[in-house]
């Protein structure tokens, strides 16, 4: 029983971070119908700057710079590349982001070199004991930060003018344009927000408690696990991203223990596959209608 509860706690903690990452996919998808394969490299950009700057700026200062940098990197990809590829449709643009991802990832991993940069110093490796249950500080803080950010995001999405514009654009791009909504601004903001979310997520990922590893290729791979989270929740559903993140976190933790560890990675993808077969647009996604 203790083992089960402990796994539940571990799974929820990870799920919160997966949800942050999944939300990044969803925001961009809602605004532009593009899947951002370069999300993992935004995570790396943010993390790398935090690692480089934390000795001079202090951890908090470096974290702020990292988040801003990841956001700007997202913005840059959109403004410089995607916005200029008007000819291409959203699937081509997704492929373009694969190219971007390959380049940024190789470069950051190369720069990291032989180091193993851990970037979660302030809360790393100091667990809280609750009876027989150990709560890792990293995961506890991730849960709180995740909950606050996601709530803030959902509220902004519902009530701010940007949120309304974005929902309108997601609903009907042409009608939104007719209503005077500037599509390019909505799109750019979406990339900015997604980048910032990636920058926040990495502060939890490259830690001893969460990934057991510092910044590197593995960090990038964790963003990949957030893919199934975004997809199974439904790519155009913000609530779906949250549910998807938690489902993925729990699936991973529980299948590792009760089936086998090496199966846990496949388990996440298989759960996604089953969901997709039943609901091709994910749990909360909008069903795509085929036009004749």
């Amino acid at each position: 029983m203790n083992t089960f509860l402990q796994l539940l706690v571990n799974g929820l903690g990870k799920g919160a971070v997966y949800a942050l990452l999944a939300l990044g996919f969803v925001v961009i998808y809602k605004a532009t119908e593009v899947i951002n394969f370069a999300h993992g490299s935004l995570v790396l950009v943010g993390g790398f700057l935090v690692y480089e700057l934390k000795d001079t700026l202090g951890w908090v200062g470096a974290a702020v710079v990292g988040i801003v940098a990841a956001a700007l990197a997202g913005l840059l990809i959109e403004r410089v590349l995607l916005a200029n590829a008007r000819a291409a449709d959203h699937n081509s643009l997704a492929l373009l982001t694969i190219g971007v991802d390959v380049i940024i990832t190789e470069e950051v991993v190369r720069r990291v070199g032989a180091d193993i940069p851990f970037i979660g110093d302030p809360y790393d490796a100091q667990p809280i004991q609750l009876g027989a249950i150990t709560i890792f500080r990293t995961q506890a803080i991730a849960l709180v930060v995740g909950a606050v950010l996601i709530t803030a995001f959902l509220l902004a999405f519902r009530y701010s003018s940007w949120g309304v514009a974005m929902r309108a654009q997601a609903e009907n791009r042409e009608a939104a344009a007719l209503m005077g909504i500037r599509s390019s601004r909505v799109t750019a903001t979406a990339w900015l927000v997604a980048g910032a979310l990636a920058g926040v997520a990495v502060l939890f990922i490259a830690t001893q408690d969460f990934s057991g590893a510092g910044l590197g290729r593995g960090t990038h791979a964790i963003a990949l696990v957030a893919f199934p989270a975004a997809i199974l929740g439904g790519l155009d559903s913000t609530a779906g991203a949250v549910v998807g993140g938690i489902v993925v976190g729990l699936t991973e933790a529980l299948s590792a223990q009760y089936i086998s560890f090496e199966f846990s990675k496949s388990a996440v993808f298989l759960v996604m596959l089953v969901v997709l077969v039943v609901r091709p647009s994910g749990l909360f996604g909008t069903k795509e209608l085929s036009r004749v």
Partner: protein, 404 residues
């Protein structure tokens, strides 16, 4: 007179002819030089270890050359980087093979697996920088030091002797799927049979870094000792979880489980439970030869990482030296001659960098002894010796997979 005709793998006549001093030669040897290959990792997952190994090889070659070379010839190294990728190695091999007599270092078990047949076909003797007894059915492999299974057998014997483990206990073993982990696991299984232990196995891949979940599960099983056949990063995660989850059992690791870089990681405070079993002494060892190599290394590569690879790389060279000298005595520095020379060596001494090595029984590891070291942040290289070289009775009685 130089007789190295165009002997690519296409021109297949393996004619050995007499060179300087009446010594027979074929590939990789001229009147003035002996060229040895290094297939290392400068850019892949083992680039830290790889840098140390390459440096160790080079230090050895420099020392030998300064002392007049071997068989009247200077040693030259032909170094390539395969980034721990089998397909890359497969392309590089045909480029390297015609130029070298043998390989002073061949890093990486996937690479070794992919090149197995090539090495046999071309009669290229290679010292692998991986220590699995599963590869000893390959006559082209010159194992240097003991193998992973024996490290674990000896290590468990040491823990039991220290009163940290008793007959009938349950132990956990986390291992990387593949040659490395599979071989380490054999050691646990063998020792468990001898002492009525129960082994809880957990298989992972080389890129899994968060072992918290596994340690949680093993805690539920009530393990008394945790065995690791993992990467250093994975060890850190397991050790951190061992402490954080209040399990706090002694942890036994194979030689590659520890890297000094862990001392700067957030897991630094949790490393104290780790015992490392290895057939080479830790970097901080007071063995005179080890001190000499370490000093030389720090002089030549002041900014390079410090790890056990340096000594390992050096000792690879020393064993090659013994083989080459023997082959020279017999007047045959051809590949076939070198292979024959190896099997006549029954006690290669390396100034105690590893134990005496015996290559006369193919299939059996050339030595079974290990040092035990514990993590010590104050020691250079992060490890300090707690048990000098020994061979447990269980290790002496162990039959390796391809032992005759």
């Amino acid at each position: 007179m130089l007789v190295l005709a165009a002997c690519g793998s296409t021109a297949d006549q393996q004619t050995a002819e007499a060179g300087a001093g009446g010594v027979k030669t074929d590939k990789g040897v001229t009147d003035t030089t002996i060229t040895l290959g290094v297939m290392g990792d400068n850019t892949g997952v083992f680039k830290n270890l790889g840098a140390g190994l390459n440096a160790g090889n080079q230090l050895w070659a420099d020392d030998v050359n300064a002392a007049g070379g071997i068989c009247g010839r200077q040693i030259e190294l032909e170094i390539v980087d395969h980034g721990y990728k089998a397909d890359t190695a497969k392309t590089l091999y045909p480029q390297l093979e015609p130029k070298v007599l043998g390989m002073v270092q061949l890093l990486g078990s996937p690479v070794l697996a992919a090149l197995k047949q090539n090495l046999i076909d071309d009669q290229v003797l290679a010292a692998p920088a991986s220590w699995s007894s599963e590869v000893l059915n390959n006559p082209s492999i010159m194992m240097i030091g003991t193998t992973y299974d024996l490290e674990i057998v000896n290590g468990l014997a040491y823990l039991q002797q220290q009163g940290l483990l008793a007959d009938g206990d349950t132990i956990g073993h986390i291992y990387i799927d593949g040659e490395y982990g599979g071989n380490g696991l054999k050691g646990s299984q063998y020792y468990a049979e001898q002492h009525g232990l129960t082994v809880r196995e957990a298989k992972i891949t080389s890129t899994d870094n968060d072992l918290t979940g596994i340690v949680t599960g093993l805690r539920g099983e009530g393990i008394k000792v945790l065995v690791l056949t993992t990467t250093p990063g994975q060890s850190a995660s397991a050790l951190a979880a061992n402490q954080a989850l209040g399990l706090n059992v002694p942890v036994l690791g194979n030689n590659p489980t520890f890297d000094p870089a862990l001392l700067d990681s957030p897991a630094a405070g949790a490393l104290g439970n780790l015992y490392v079993a290895a057939s080479s002494p830790p970097f901080s060892s007071k063995t005179p030869k080890a001190v000499e190599v370490a000093t030389e290394y720090k002089q030549k590569y002041p900014s390079a990482p410090i790890n056990a690879g340096v000594h390992t790389g050096y000792v690879e060279g020393m064993v090659w030296q013994a083989v080459l000298e023997k082959a020279c005595e017999s007047g045959d520095l051809s590949r076939a001659g070198v292979a024959t020379a190896l099997t006549t060596l029954t006690s290669v001494k390396t100034d105690d960098l590893v134990t005496e090595l015996d290559y006369s029984s193919p299939g059996s590891p050339p030595t079974r002894g290990v040092y035990i070291a514990k993590v010590d942040p104050a020691a250079e290289g992060g490890l300090t010796e707690v048990a000098p070289l020994f061979t447990a009775p269980e290790a002496a009685g162990y039959k390796a997979p391809y032992q005759q």
